[in-house]
């Protein structure tokens, strides 16, 4: 003990005094719950067994049970479809807007800032707002589309099983565009102007400059935008819970809404915990790739 104390220099002890309160808080409210969630997924804890204190260890049964229910597979596939669909379009549209607002014109800066609003609005509000705008009675998007003869009659965007998923993806794209745009704009402005000038002197046209200079030099920021996007889209809960409730049937059920439903509308806490763990494992894989890719330097220095 005494030896240990000696090892901790004064600087060390003062450092811990600064760090420990936050660390202990996070261990208590995140670390412990994660372990508890893991343990819970091997028990048969629900509102019944909890009340009677009869919960017991059942091994992997929650997981095997879950994979016998079609909804589980559906929600895994939906999670992937929702994520990939959102990311592809958010990224492309965000990139186009980043290039647009990277040009030098008067309104570039003020308008780029204003676009952030769609990302900042609480997602619950966004979901309800689009539910309103997409509704087939009185929804303004339907009215505009019918007026422009794009569709013959109003569509049940969030209520029909075919359109619900594309619709929630569309809403999520609207939320995510500014995020992609801002991060990619930073990447663009880090490319030295002299590269473009040199290429122009050598006779490269705009398309060549884009593919030979912009894209290769943007590789790092593109990667981190995409992977961060994947991580944040994987865990989207409120947009879908408020927008469609995972329905119709389970057309938009993703892992986070499914886990919520199991725990808090069916009160099968252990099944909810197991579902959340499936999501956790998927995220972990992406997270590890992310940390590997951005390299230790950026995290540690």
């Amino acid at each position: 003990m005494a030896k240990n104390k000696k090892k901790l220099s004064k600087g060390n002890r003062v450092g811990y005094a600064f760090v420990l309160p936050a660390l202990i808080f996070m261990l208590a409210l995140v670390g412990f719950p994660i372990i508890y969630n893991f343990v819970l997924s091997f028990y048969n804890m629900d509102v019944m067994t909890m009340g009677q204190h009869t919960e017991k260890f059942i091994g992997f049964q929650n997981y095997t049970d879950l994979f016998q229910v079609p909804t589980t597979k559906t929600s895994i596939i939906n999670t992937i479809v929702f994520t990939v669909g959102s990311i592809v379009f958010q990224f492309i549209l965000g990139f186009l807007l980043a290039i647009l607002f990277h040009q030098d014109f008067k309104l570039a800066k003020p308008l780029r800032g204003v676009l952030l609003i769609s990302w900042m609005i609480p997602v619950t509000v966004t979901a309800l707002l689009f539910k309103f705008m997409l509704s087939s009675s009185g929804g303004v998007i339907n009215t505009i589309l019918v007026y422009l003869h794009i569709i013959p009659k109003p569509l049940d965007f969030l209520v029909s099983s075919d359109l619900a998923m594309p619709s929630v993806i569309g809403i999520n794209i609207w939320i995510g565009i500014p995020f992609n745009m801002v991060l990619l704009t930073t990447g663009l402005s880090n490319i030295p102007e002299s590269y473009y000038e040199a290429a122009a002197i050598d006779g490269a046209n705009a398309v060549q400059r884009f593919f030979k200079i912009t894209l290769p030099l943007m590789k790092a920021s593109m990667l981190s935008v995409i992977i961060l996007g994947v991580i944040y889209t994987f865990k989207v809960f409120d947009l879908i819970w408020v927008g469609t409730g995972g329905g119709p049937v389970d057309a938009t059920e993703v892992l986070s809404t499914y886990a919520y439903r199991l725990s808090f509308t069916q009160y099968s806490f252990s099944k909810g915990a197991a579902t959340a763990n499936i999501l956790f494992v998927m995220l972990l894989v992406v997270g590890i790739i992310y940390i590997k890719l951005i390299g230790k330097d950026e995290v540690m220095n």
């Binding site: 450092g15 600064f18 412990f32 309800l128 009675s137």
Partner: protein
């Protein structure tokens, strides 16, 4: 050549305006719909500016208070209490921690930083069930503390990831000279380092407020009585109860968005810097 360049700029400005109109139309639509009577909302031809301008959607909520509990203003206060305390406490815990991780060579600091980075990526769903059971056992369900403490778990790692590099970028000589002038490590931190890093601190405060303000999952799960609910949980329950009174729902939405818009107007540059350095998405 000169003329060509002017044309180009005009076109760019016009395209940018069109993009902004398309992207911001939903927000405009929410605000003007909240000032329409419900009959006008369901009119066959939508009105792009309210024909009958009314505050009904806002005022009808005032009387609805005590009994139905779906009162905008009560839940606004609940949200303010939860979000402001979550913001304040996140900063109190996380700012010293970021300083400690930036300034002291402590054992395990790499592991700590990695842990904070990972927690920032975790879904709320993962801890929702265990936290519910824990709060339930501690008798904390249906208190402000349950959503507040949970919101802090999003704010704290974000603050640390933003502020640690910020403190690292400040010259160490500042502290050294403060110490020569008689400061302790702690007073050097509070009197010298903290004031000069205020832009980073503001960014952190703004984001930890926004995380808590926008949260639905925690307050929906951990708060059961209606007069304790936050705005997001309140509006969610409102649709369950009142169906499609869109003008009232949009009024509710406008009130939730108002603080966000105010923050945006006054603190925009901090939001951009937070976004780019922390790369977050709430």
């Amino acid at each position: 050549m000169q003329k060509k360049r002017t044309y180009r700029k005009i076109i760019l400005n016009v395209v940018a305006i069109i993009v902004a109109i398309i992207m911001l139309f939903p927000v405009y639509w929410m605000i003007i719909s909240s000032f329409k009577p419900n009959a006008e909302i369901f009119a066959a031809v939508p009105t792009f500016f309210p024909h009958t301008f009314t505050f009904d959607a806002y005022t009808s909520q005032v009387g609805a208070s005590a009994n139905t509990g779906s009162n905008i203003y009560r839940s606004f206060i609940n949200s303010v209490i939860i979000a402001v305390s979550a913001m304040f406490l996140s900063c109190v815990l996380a700012i010293p921690a970021s300083y400690g991780l930036a300034r002291f060579r402590i054992k395990g600091s790499r592991t700590f930083i990695l842990l904070f980075l990972i927690t920032q990526m975790l879904p709320a769903t993962l801890t929702l069930t265990p936290l519910y059971l824990i709060y339930n056992r501690l008798g904390m369900i249906d208190t402000y503390f349950a959503p507040m403490l949970s919101d802090m778990t999003i704010g704290i790692p974000f603050v640390i990831l933003i502020l640690r590099p910020y403190f690292l970028s400040l010259p160490k000589e500042l502290e050294d000279s403060a110490k020569i002038d008689g400061c302790t490590t702690f007073t050097a931190f509070t009197r010298i380092m903290l004031p000069i890093s205020y832009p980073g601190v503001i960014t952190c405060a703004v984001f930890s407020f926004l995380f808590a303000w926008g949260d639905l999952a925690y307050s929906l799960t951990f708060v059961t009585s209606e007069n304790m609910r936050s705005m997001t949980a309140g509006i969610y329950n409102f649709i369950g109860k009142y169906g499609i009174q869109w003008n009232c729902i949009m009024a509710y939405g406008t009130v939730i968005t108002l603080p966000v818009l105010i923050i945006f107007i006054f603190l925009q540059k901090y939001i951009v810097s937070g976004l780019t350095s922390g790369a977050v998405k709430g």
